[in-house]
């Protein structure tokens, strides 16, 4: 049952929210031992919240558009009094003193949090294997990764533990796991969703967004979490999007560009698998059949995205993660001086990938290398912004694959960091320029696992993106073979 059907059944009193929660908690109980989507299941609090929703309905109040809908929250978003770990040992024992704005907003809309989901430590990774609490498995094939870093949030929805979840996306961490798990995953425009209470990774790139099985559920959840928040100074001062009302408008007359450099075109990024490119071309044909005009376009600097990202994101991370020093929260490893305590705490608390990125970022920002690396990466962002702007003068949206391949086997890419990083090659450009992008399932690969295709648009083009995403969903070839 979709989130929207559940909410309408709860609002009308046809189903009790407690029943709905119990049904989902039972599924979690039965299967999360295998999947490991959750770091923490908040069963008691969920039942209490659901009972309050039922009481509201009984007394004639409207508990909101997501009434009684179970939702899973990535464990890098603050939840008052509920452990928030970022899947890191360094936040051991920490309970945030406040809620992230998105958590407040989903609760205000009537949704019920069922737990906190696993991630690559501090959201650094593309497979959810860099977690201090063990990897999450892909519910469609448990020998495969669910993608990352929001792999727990993706797996929770794919395994029917909750119809909705929230993830965060710094370089593809919502869209790539959505593609790997056969889901819809959206990274909104930078500033469209408050980051207040999201534990920072790369502050100029991070954005929170929804996971769901359908485009309509995704639209409803983004409507609930979007809109201005005075607690986030990078929040865009405008009301939440109206998305659910545009879903049936179709793509007649829309102009959609296949972004050559990220879609297997000549001179573009290499390593995209043939089945993924084929599904992307089929998606383009489907949009054309539905009335859109499809043309090939070029953003040459998109090929530089991966390099720019792996300088900018670690640089910002090295600065953001300096706050984890054993003084104010989380882990402390005792030592005789404060400096030694900080070094001992960070050394024991951070995992290998986090250390690698802190090292890379510290190096890229250090004297003598700043201009050659970080400074140039920032100029590449400008070039990308300019090139995207000229392309969006010609077309409304862009189409690319979401990830180079379908979900890969657990353990397949952990030995060499670069083989993991290339997963983000198609998703990174949207983060560097702050633009919105959605991944929509479109058929399966040669291995029978889902393929995701990505629609990109200019800043604040969410309504257009959702309009086209709904058309793409309607034209997609059946269900993934394993879902």
């Amino acid at each position: 049952m979709s989130a929207l059907d559940l909410a309408s059944a709860v609002r009308s009193g046809e189903r009790s929210a407690v029943d709905v929660i119990d049904e989902h908690l039972a599924r979690i109980d039965a299967r999360d031992g295998e999947i490991n989507a959750f770091n923490l299941v908040t069963a008691d609090a969920a039942r209490e919240a659901a009972a309050a929703i039922d009481a509201a309905v009984a007394s004639g109040k409207d508990p909101g558009p997501l009434a009684g809908v179970p939702i899973a929250i990535k464990d890098n978003m603050c939840t008052t009094g509920v452990a928030t770990t970022c899947s890191s040992k360094i936040l051991e024992g920490w309970e945030p003193p406040y809620d992230a704005t998105v958590v407040q907003r989903v609760v205000a809309a009537g949704a019920v949090m069922v737990g906190k989901t696993n991630l690559d430590e501090f959201a650094m990774g593309s497979s959810t294997e860099n977690s201090a609490f063990g990897p999450t498995k892909n519910p469609l094939d448990t020998t495969r990764v669910p993608g990352g870093s929001s792999g727990g949030s993706a797996a929770a929805v794919a395994a029917d533990f909750a119809p909705l979840s929230l993830g965060s996306d710094t370089g593809g961490s919502i869209r790539q796991p959505a593609a790997f798990c056969g889901l819809v995953g959206m990274k909104p425009t930078y500033g469209a969703v408050s980051r207040s209470g999201l534990i920072a990774f790369g502050s100029s790139l991070d954005q929170i967004g929804p996971f769901s099985k359908t485009v309509a559920e995704s639209a409803a959840l983004l409507e609930a979490i979007g809109g201005h928040d005075p607690l986030d100074s990078t929040s865009i001062d405008q009301p939440a999007f109206d998305l659910t009302s545009v879903l049936d408008r179709g793509v007649e007359g829309m102009r959609i560009g296949i972004l050559r450099e990220l879609s297997g075109g000549e001179g573009g990024v290499e390593g995209l698998s043939a089945d993924v490119i084929a599904r992307t071309n089929e998606a383009a044909a489907a949009l054309e059949k539905a009335g859109a005009t499809v043309v090939e376009v070029s953003v040459p600097s998109a090929t530089l995205g991966l390099s720019a990202y792996y300088l900018v994101a670690p640089a910002e991370a090295s600065s953001n993660l300096s706050r984890f020093d054993g003084v104010r929260y989380g882990l402390r490893v005792d030592a005789s001086t404060t400096g030694e305590m900080m070094t001992a705490t960070r050394t024991a608390g951070f995992g290998p990938e986090v250390k690698r990125r802190i090292m890379l970022g510290t190096y890229a920002l250090s004297a003598g290398y700043y201009d050659a690396f970080y400074g140039k990466a920032l100029k590449v962002r400008t070039m990308m912004l300019q090139e995207f702007a000229s392309v969006y003068a010609e077309v409304d949206l862009l189409l690319t694959p979401t990830a180079p391949t379908t979900a890969f086997p657990l353990g397949d890419r952990t030995a060499d960091p670069m083989t993991m990083y290339v997963n983000d090659v198609c998703t990174i450009p949207s983060n560097l320029v702050g633009h919105p992008a959605i991944s929509v399932p479109f058929g399966v690969g040669d291995d029978g696992l889902p393929v995701g295709v990505q629609l990109l648009g200019p800043a604040l083009s969410e309504p257009t993106i959702y309009q086209a995403a709904a058309a793409l969903e309607a034209a997609a070839p059946g269900e993934g073979s394993l879902s």
């Binding site: 005075p230 100074s233 990078t234 390593g271 040459p300 404060t338 250390k355 250090s366 690396f373 670069m418």
Partner: protein, 111 residues
């Protein structure tokens, strides 16, 4: 899987050295074992080699973009508003005393 950009890759003039890795770890307040230093020297070198396309790029007088939104000086009204409770925050600290965070001695340390 190989990744390469459309722009020609200029060769890095030199790879990151073991001594630089040791220096950067100290800056980042991380203590690395000899094996980790070797591993990071290789891996960071590989990652930076991929960034050689950026290092080699002639970006001329392109302005840097540190932030995707053209926002400046976001202000709020200068009004009192509730803050988080001090005792609640200190309850989350590894060590606290007299309303403050408590840490081991600082004086006498090397900077």
């Amino acid at each position: 899987m190989e990744w390469s950009g459309a722009v020609s890759l200029g060769a890095m003039t030199q790879r990151i050295t073991r001594d630089e890795v040791v220096h950067v770890a100290r800056l980042a307040r991380l203590s690395l074992s000899d094996a980790e230093i070797d591993e990071f020297t290789g891996q960071l070198g590989d990652i930076l080699e991929h960034a050689a396309d950026i290092e080699a790029l002639d970006v001329g007088d392109v302005e840097p973009t540190s932030h995707p939104l053209p926002m400046v000086n976001v202000l709020r009204p200068d009004e009192l508003r509730p803050a988080l409770d001090r005792d609640l925050l200190l309850s989350q600290a590894p060590d606290a005393e007299d309303g403050q965070f408590r840490v081991p001695p600082i004086l006498g340390e090397e900077p």
